[in-house]
């Protein structure tokens, strides 16, 4: 199993969650984060904003679903035809075990 953590624009959150649900990946955890990227934040005149609000969507899926999930997020997270700075990043990490509390059973 893998954990996908996508840092995305907050205004794209609802659309991505809707599309993920339609694609069969309903389960997700969402929280708000602040951060900056390679562009070192945004500079307006003398003012630098380097704590830019973003949303983080975390979901755990089976290995074979990885490409489908990434496809959905990549397609709906970007602004404009070719994407723009600040659209976010996706991190994929491995998960050893998953347990469901209500049943206590291992597995998704």
């Amino acid at each position: 199993m893998i954990m996908v953590r996508a840092i995305i624009r907050p205004d794209k959150k609802d659309a991505i969650l809707y599309e993920l649900s339609s694609a069969g990946f309903n389960a997700a955890t969402v929280y708000d984060v602040v951060g900056r990227g390679k562009q070192k934040g945004i500079k307006f005149g003398d003012v630098i904003y380097d704590e830019i609000p973003k949303s983080l969507i975390m979901l755990v899926v089976n290995d074979e679903d990885k490409d489908d999930v990434l496809e959905v997020i990549l397609q709906h997270a970007k602004v404009g035809e070719n994407g723009s700075f600040g659209d976010g990043k996706i991190f994929v990490s491995s998960i050893d075990e998953v347990y469901t509390v209500s049943s206590g059973a291992a597995g998704l």
Partner: protein
Amino acid sequence: MKEIIAVVRMNKVSDTKRALIGVGAAGFTALKVMGRGRLVEDKTVIAERRKTLLALSRSDEHNTEKIVTEFLDGTRLFPRRMFTVLAHDQDVPKFIKAIVDANKTEYKVGDGKIFVVPVMDAVRVRTKESGDAAI
């Protein structure tokens, strides 16, 4: 070294904290998150709660039915608390059992998930200890 990420109900936070201390979890980080789980396919699981919620609502609200359905079938995000706990490999089953026992309810859905993530290294800032000594 493992990181245990547990997403639990808001009203089970103190129970979870107590359970973690009980099994000797050194420390933890907790975050407020929003989450949703698998879609409920077996409608009989939520039939009872659906009935209760419909009985609570006023009958003159035309979209009550829709709201209650959305509320229960898992398409909405609900507030949850996310705990991250670092654990030695041999402590993982113990911690998981403690979290499961503290968070189980009779509702059958929405009790949360626990993820066990491998961690490569940890460093204690104060002493620069790393590896297992830092937990």
